[in-house]
Assembly symmetry: C2
Homo-oligomer: 112 residues x 2
């Protein structure tokens, strides 16, 4: 991830994005662009950590579908998992979500 | 759009999303999930309003590609356009971006 993206000034609304900034941000938003993944993320965020085994039933999707979505969220850096025995336990990684949220913030200069 | 989504409590991180909430939010994030669209949005946000004719060169994409991305951003409610003569002038619609940003906010209850 580009160092520049940690800069709070890297907002879509603050200045024209470079191609590199846009590419990193777009890949993050792509991970959020699926209702099932958003619901999974909200289920994981609801507790300090959640066993993958507890996510299939509330999502109402098949185990392979849930596994695929968990992989996409993990690769996007939005969640991280620890394997313990048979199952992986997941938790949210706040920093990456903060970055995406910051990218949608109004720059301070134009606030009333 | 569901009335509930205007509620600031509708955050991915606040409580498990309903299928309806997740669907509306995912369609918004899908519009942001492309580097070209993010760059277009940042170019439009850089001024009060921008003529479509001024967006092709800085984006470095073909006119049909730019038109397609502008259509996707408009249908997602992120920008709006007014036709004046031959060209459409675009501006950002802040409310929809605010909704997506709010969806990524930490709920107040878990802030330090």
């Amino acid at each position: 991830m580009s160092q520049n993206l940690a800069d709070p000034a890297c907002s879509v609304l603050a200045a024209p994005l470079t191609a590199g900034e846009a590419s990193v941000l777009a890949s993050g938003f792509a991970a959020l662009a699926d209702p099932g993944r958003l619901r999974l993320l909200s289920l994981i965020a609801d507790r300090p950590e959640v066993c993958a085994c507890a996510l299939v039933e509330p999502l109402g999707k098949s185990q392979p579908t849930v596994s695929h979505h968990l992989k996409v969220l993990t690769e996007a850096g939005l969640i991280t998992g620890d394997r313990r025995g048979r199952w992986i336990w997941y938790r949210v990684v706040p920093g990456r979500l903060d970055l995406l949220r910051s990218a949608l913030e109004q720059p301070a200069a134009v606030l009333p």
